[in-house]
Amino acid sequence: MDFNDTPQEAEYRAQVRAWLEDNAAEYRTPPAESWKLPEFIARSKAWQAKKHAAGYTGITWPKMFGGQGLSPMHSIIYGQEESRFHVPQGLYSIGLGMCIPTVFTHGQPEVIQRYVPKALLGEEVWCQLFSEPAAGSDLAGIRTKAVKDGDEWVIDGQKVWTSFAHASDYGIVVTRTDPSLPKHKGLTMFIVNMKAPGVTVKGIKQMSGGSDFNEVFFDGVRVHDSHRLGAVGDGWKVALTTLMHERLAVGGKPRYAPGYETLMKLAREIDAPDGNPAIAASDVRQKIAQTYINDQGIKLTQMRALSALSKGQVPGPEQSISKVVVAKTMQDLASFALDLSGGDGFVAGADADPELAKLQGSYIGSAGLRIAGGTDEILRNIIAERVLGLPGDMRPDKDTPFNQAVPA
C-alpha cells in the first residue's frame, strides 16, 4: 500500500508539471487583488485556449468530441498540478463538467458539431438551469414550462441558483412540457441561448454578502426543436445523467477553509477560563482531534476513491459522505473557535487578524455549504437509500398528474 503514482501516472504528472512550469508562470502567486469580472473572463478564456492547444482540455472525453480519451486519474492529476498555480478557475467547470457531456450524450449531430468544439476551446461559456424557487431539494418539482409552437418551443418561468449565468452564452434548461403527467414524466431539456430575447439574469446576494449565483427569468423565450436534448418527456432521465457528472466531482473542504491547524494556532494565543493558554485545555484538544478526524478522514476517503480510479475501477459509495461531514465540521469548528476568541472574533474582519477573519467567513459560508449541492438532510437520505438500500421516503405526489398534485 502506498500513496505513490503508478509509473504511467508519474510520467503524465511530470509532463503536466513541466508544461505548467513553462506556461503558468504568471500564476505562481495569487493576484494582488481579485480580478473584476471582465478581466476574470478574459484571463479564463486565454488560459483555456492555451490548455486546449496543449491537449489538457476534455481529458476524459471521447476523442470523437475533441477530448483526449484518457482516464479520470489523468484528469485528477492535471487538476492536482494545476491547483499549485493560481490560474483563473471556475468559469468552465459547470459547462465542461456537466452541460457539454449532456449535449454530446443527448444532442443531435449538428448541435454537437456547432457547440461542443467552441465550448471546449473556451470561446463560449455555459450554465445549467435546473433549480427553481419551488424546486430545490425536490428538483422534479420544477414549473418552468415549454410549449410547442411549430418548430419551436416557448419557455416561460424562473430558474435560480445558476452559477455564472451573467457570463454565459448558452445554458441547458429543464422545462415542464406536459403538466398532465406525473412530476417526473412531463419534463424536457433544451439548449437555450442566454442572450436571446426574454432571458433576464439577476444576481442573488447571499447571506455572506457575496453574489455567486443568479436568478434567471424566461419570458416567452423561443428555442428551436433541434436544440432539444433527448426525447420529449425524457427530461428527468437526461437531467440525471447531468447530475451524475456532478457527483463525480470530488466535494471536499473548500481550499482555504480553516482546519484543525487554525484552532491549534489560535488556542496558543488565547487564554482558557483557567488562565492557561487554551491549547492546554482538554476540551480544545478534543475539538482539534475531532476536526482532524473529520477533515482528514474525508481526505483519506477521497484517496480511497482515487485509488480505485487509479486501478481502473469505479469508486465505491464512500465519496457520498464527503460534503455532509466537511460542511458541518467547518461550522462547528468556526463556532467553537469564535466562541473561544470572545469579542475579537465578533469584530468584523476580526480587527485585521487574518485567522479570525477566515473563521468568520467560514462560520457564515459553512451555513451555505451545508445546503448547496444537496442539504445535509438530502445527502443522508441518499446515503441511506443508495448505499445502505433503505426504502425511500413516502412520495405521495409521485404518480399524480403534476397539475393535480395537492401537498399532503
Binding site: 430545490g136 431539494s137 418539482g141 465578533f346 412520495r395
Partner: protein, 365 residues
C-alpha cells in the same frame, strides 16, 4: 410552589411583545442594517421610555417604578425576540449594576435620567485579547482608567458606560461618563446592533461597588441576557416552524419529514431547558438565594446553546433561500455571535457553573 413569573411581569412582557411586534422585528432590522441608517430607532426609544420600560427597575426614589428583575427579564426577552433597534438591554444591564452597587450619589446622578429615557447606558468589559469577563486588563489608577474596550454594544448612542477594569481586588466596575469620550464605531458580524470602541486614556471614572459586586452583577447580567437570547432563539424557532408548516417538497409539507420535525423538537427542548434555568436565576435573585451563581451560569450556557442551535438550523431548514441576503434567517445567525460576545463565551460560563457546584458540594460536606 410559585415558580413562575408574577402576573404583573407577564402583563408587562405581553405589552412589550405586542408593541415590538408592531414597531420592531425583521423589517425594521433590515432597514437598520443599511450602513447609513441611524444607530438606533429614536422614535421607538421615545415610545418605550414613555411606557416606562427603562424606569421599570429604577427605584421609585429615583423616579422609577421600582419593579423586580422579573420585569427586566420580560423586557429583555421581548427585545431579543423582536431584534428591536434600541439600546434597551444595554441600558437594563447598566441599570442593574447601578441598582445593585451604586452609592446614593451615583444612583441619584444616573437613575432619574435612565428612568426617563434621557440617559442611555451600556456596559463595557470586552477588550482586544480579553476573551472573558475575568481577564480585563484595563487599568484603574486613582479613579482614572486606561485601556481599550471593544466591542461595546450600543456605545455609539450611549451616554454612560459601566466599565470593567482591573481594580485593587481584581476586576470591578467603574462608571465612565461618555460625554467627550474617545469612542469610535466598530463593525461587527451583527449588522443591526451598533458596537463601538471606547479608548480610555487616563479617563476619569468612578468606582461602582466592589470586586465582589462585579461578580454579583455578572450573575444578574447572565440571567438578563439569557432572556434576551431566549427571545432571539424563540423567534428563530418560530420562523423555522412557520416555514416547515408551509414549504412543500416531494409532495409534502416539509414539517412532515422527521429530519425537519425532530430538529424543531430539539429547538424546543433546548429552549425549555434554557427557560427553566433562567427562571431559576430570577427566583434566586428575587429571594437572595444561595444558588444564584450556578443558576445564572446554567442559564447563560443553556441559552447560548439554544440560540446557536436555533439560529444555525433555521438557516439549514430554509434551504437555499435561507442563505440569501433577502432572507430573515441571517438576523438570528448574526445576532447569535453578538450575544456570545456580549457577556463572554460558553466555556467560561460552564467553568463558572462547575466551580459553583463544587463550592456548594464542599459547603454541604
Amino acid at each position: 410552589m410559585n415558580f413562575d413569573f408574577s402576573d404583573e411581569a407577564k402583563a408587562l412582557g405581553e405589552q412589550a411583545r405586542k408593541l415590538l411586534a408592531e414597531k420592531a422585528g425583521t423589517g425594521p432590522a433590515r432597514k437598520a442594517m443599511a450602513a447609513d441608517s441611524p444607530a438606533m430607532d429614536a422614535a421607538l426609544w421615545a415610545e418605550i421610555s414613555e411606557l416606562g420600560w427603562t424606569a421599570a427597575r429604577v427605584p421609585e426614589a429615583y423616579g422609577g417604578l421600582g419593579l423586580s428583575v422579573e420585569e427586566v427579564a420580560q423586557l429583555a426577552e421581548a427585545a431579543g425576540g423582536s431584534l428591536a433597534h434600541v439600546p434597551l438591554v444595554s441600558t437594563l444591564l447598566g441599570t442593574e449594576a447601578l441598582v445593585l452597587a451604586g452609592s446614593e450619589a451615583q444612583k441619584a446622578r444616573y437613575l432619574p435620567g435612565i428612568a426617563s429615557g434621557a440617559t442611555i447606558a451600556t456596559v463595557a468589559w470586552s477588550e482586544p485579547g480579553a476573551v472573558n469577563p475575568a481577564t480585563v486588563k484595563t487599568e484603574a489608577k486613582a479613579d482614572r482608567l486606561t485601556g481599550t474596550k471593544q466591542p461595546v454594544a450600543d456605545l455609539p448612542v450611549a451616554h454612560v458606560a459601566i466599565v470593567a477594569a482591573a481594580g485593587p481586588d481584581g476586576p470591578q466596575l467603574y462608571i465612565v461618563d461618555l460625554a467627550g469620550a474617545d469612542s469610535t464605531v466598530v463593525e461587527t458580524i451583527d449588522l443591526v446592533r451598533r458596537h463601538g470602541r471606547l479608548t480610555l486614556n487616563n479617563t476619569p471614572a468612578e468606582a461602582l461597588g466592589t470586586a465582589s459586586d462585579y461578580q454579583d452583577w455578572l450573575d444578574r447580567a447572565a440571567v438578563i441576557t439569557a432572556y434576551e437570547a431566549i427571545g432571539t432563539a424563540g423567534a428563530a424557532m418560530a420562523m423555522t416552524v412557520d416555514y416547515a408548516k408551509t414549504r412543500v417538497a416531494f409532495g409534502q409539507k416539509i414539517g412532515r419529514y422527521q429530519a425537519v420535525k425532530h430538529k424543531c423538537a430539539d429547538m424546543y427542548i433546548k429552549l425549555e431547558l434554557a427557560r427553566a434555568h433562567a427562571l431559576h436565576g430570577l427566583a434566586m435573585i428575587g429571594t437572595n438565594g444561595t444558588e444564584l451563581r450556578q443558576a445564572a451560569a446554567a442559564a447563560r450556557v443553556a441559552s447560548l446553546d439554544a440560540l446557536a442551535y436555533c439560529a444555525e438550523e433555521n438557516v439549514q431548514l430554509h434551504g437555499g433561500i435561507g442563505f440569501t441576503w433577502e432572507s430573515d434567517c441571517q438576523f438570528y445567525y448574526r445576532r447569535n455571535r453578538a450575544l456570545v460576545a456580549a457577556l463572554g463565551p460558553r466555556g467560561w460560563w460552564a467553568e463558572r457553573l462547575v466551580r459553583a457546584l463544587e463550592q456548594r458540594n464542599r459547603a454541604a460536606a
